[in-house]
């Protein structure tokens, strides 16, 4: 998976949550396919590192500290990309947080935070970018839903799966409203991916066993999600809009593989 140099040449991409995990992999992939990238992350230092990594390989990137749940910061992020690179062609909204707990185990503050970052954060970034994108003649927005949340619930995961289900429907709503402006909007729905986010709630041994329980026999690598995002960003997806594409090793085709199988949630709740 070496990328397709030139496929995104001349394009400008903004990646939220670009400092780590799937967002980082997408920023690197967009850059290796030829795009200039604004790497946004609430953890500014991680965004700096990714931008430096891109620049070190001869690409163009800038970093920015952005809390996607703040409308002013979402607007400023898009304005910066336009200042720096002249416009935005691609937005990928990878900023997201994981949470655990049923409704009775989730206090309203925790619920609000997950919805604010995962769902409202996606809305705000898209809202900020659509006008400038339309003026440029169109573009591609790639949101990040989840294999749990796009269609399926997952036990003890109420805020997260609801936010990701919301992202899936937000994606379709944005797609139907802005197709006429040449903007395609699609979601990737990752299955369990070997990211720092998953690593923060699982031991390495648990991650290995979790991967072995997948039909494909392993966890996804962030680069595999980035590859799907790069396809959606490119002209190869010219007639794809409003799609929610599972990149999950067969997880949602099959019934009954959840985090709960490994006792992870039980540990979270202790």
């Amino acid at each position: 998976m070496t990328g397709h140099p030139g496929r995104l040449t001349g394009k400008v991409a903004v990646v939220t949550g670009g400092g780590s995990g799937i967002g980082r992999a997408a920023a690197l992939r967009f850059a290796s396919d030829g795009a200039a990238v604004l790497v946004a992350d609430v953890a500014g230092e991680s965004a700096d590192k990714v931008a430096a990594e891109i620049a070190g390989s001869g690409g163009r990137a800038v970093a920015m500290t952005v809390d996607v749940s703040d409308p002013a910061q979402a607007d400023a992020m898009v304005a910066s990309a336009i200042d720096e690179f002249g416009g935005v062609d691609i937005l990928m909204t990878a900023a997201g947080v994981l949470s655990f707990g049923s409704a009775t185990q989730t206090d309203p503050q925790a619920w609000n935070r997950v919805i604010a970052i995962n769902l409202t954060g996606t809305f705000l970034a898209a809202r900020a970018v659509i006008g400038p994108m339309a003026e440029r003649g169109g573009g591609s927005i790639i949101t990040v839903s989840s294999s749990t949340g796009a269609h399926d619930a997952s036990p003890g995961n109420v805020a997260y799966v609801t936010s990701k289900g919301g992202v899936a429907m937000l994606t379709k709503a944005l797609a139907i409203d802005h197709a006429a402006e040449g903007i395609r909007v699609n979601a990737i729905a990752p299955g369990p991916t070997a990211t720092p986010m998953l690593g923060s709630v699982m031991t390495e041994d648990e991650m290995r066993r979790f991967g072995e329980a997948m039909p494909i026999g392993r966890l996804a690598r962030p680069e595999e999600l980035a590859a799907a995002a790069a396809f959606l960003a490119s002209d190869d997806a010219s007639y794809v809009t409003g799609a929610v594409i599972a990149v999950d090793g067969g997880q949602t085709a099959k019934v009954g593989i959840t985090l709960a199988d490994l006792g992870t949630i039980a540990r979270q709740q202790q």
Binding site: M1, T241, K254
Partner: protein, 265 residues
């Protein structure tokens, strides 16, 4: 891009339309090709046009609903190119008629070609791919797998069947290193949909339902098929991808027609 350099691709239904568009793109990216189709003159002509551009192409004539024909196509592929890396199955037929008037013979033929054909090609190709523990299969479902249409029950039933076949086959094939996914085209300008797309009244009228504002082209579909067949889709299996310009995104409530949007302001 040369994602398929040296790979061998069998395109079932490769003589025209979306199958031929896939074949052209695979050829342009360096693949060896075998086109399998039912009409010998069209499949030979398609192969000849690709050979004229110096691509390595074989053509095989046969019926996808006949196991021996399918096995012959796979055997010809292996004997000519030494293996099989990608199977693309596009072959399908349609007949529009309300079910109360639909004859049983046509129903059985549609199920044989559209659904049993996918089983037969997946099985024959999968057995060869399993020997090398690698392969990618892309089969054509349709937005009809999920959304009903008047007078189209048999076709839609087979397409819904294909989606569930793909999900289940993904479970069986994963242990052999084989991925299988489906593509769900919307309204694409091919021989199957020509009557609608090029109708002077119905064509522009139906177009109002497609947010992208245009019908799909065979190449729109081929580009997605190549993605699914490529290493970029290495973690995708058992999935289907809707490629319809937004056709199936929304219930067509006709809110614009009713003026409700302005009433809300």
């Amino acid at each position: 891009m040369t994602r398929f350099s040296g790979k061998t691709v069998l395109v079932v239904g490769g003589a025209q339309g979306m199958g031929l568009a896939c074949a052209r793109r695979f050829a342009a990216e360096g693949a060896n090709l075998v086109l399998f189709d039912i009409e010998d003159d069209t499949v030979d002509a398609a192969a000849a046009s690709l050979r004229a551009d110096s691509h390595a192409v074989e053509s095989v004539t046969g019926d996808v609903s006949v196991a021996a024909d399918v096995e012959r196509a796979v055997a010809a592929t292996v004997s000519r190119f030494g293996g099989l890396d990608v199977l693309v199955h596009t072959a399908g037929i349609v007949k529009l008629k309300p079910i109360l008037e639909f004859d049983e013979r046509s129903w059985r033929r549609i199920v044989d070609v559209n659904l049993t054909g996918v089983f037969l090609t997946t099985k024959a190709a999968g057995r060869v791919m399993a020997e090398r523990r690698a392969g990618a299969i892309v089969v054509f479902a349709s937005t009809n797998a999920f959304f009903a249409e008047e007078s189209n029950a048999p076709y839609s039933a087979t397409k819904g069947g294909i989606v569930m076949f793909v999900r289940n086959a993904a479970m069986d094939l994963a242990r052999h290193g084989i991925r299988i996914n489906a593509i769900d085209p919307g309204i694409i300008d091919t021989r199957l949909s020509r009557a609608l797309v090029h109708d002077p009244v119905a064509g522009p009228d139906y177009l109002k339902r497609i947010p992208a504002g245009r019908y799909g082209t065979p190449d729109d579909i081929a580009k997605v098929v190549l993605f699914l067949a490529s290493d970029d889709a290495s973690y995708m299996t058992g999935e289907d991808v809707i490629v319809d310009g937004g056709l199936t995104l929304g219930a067509n409530l006709g809110i614009d027609d009713l003026g409700l949007q302005s009433a809300g302001d």
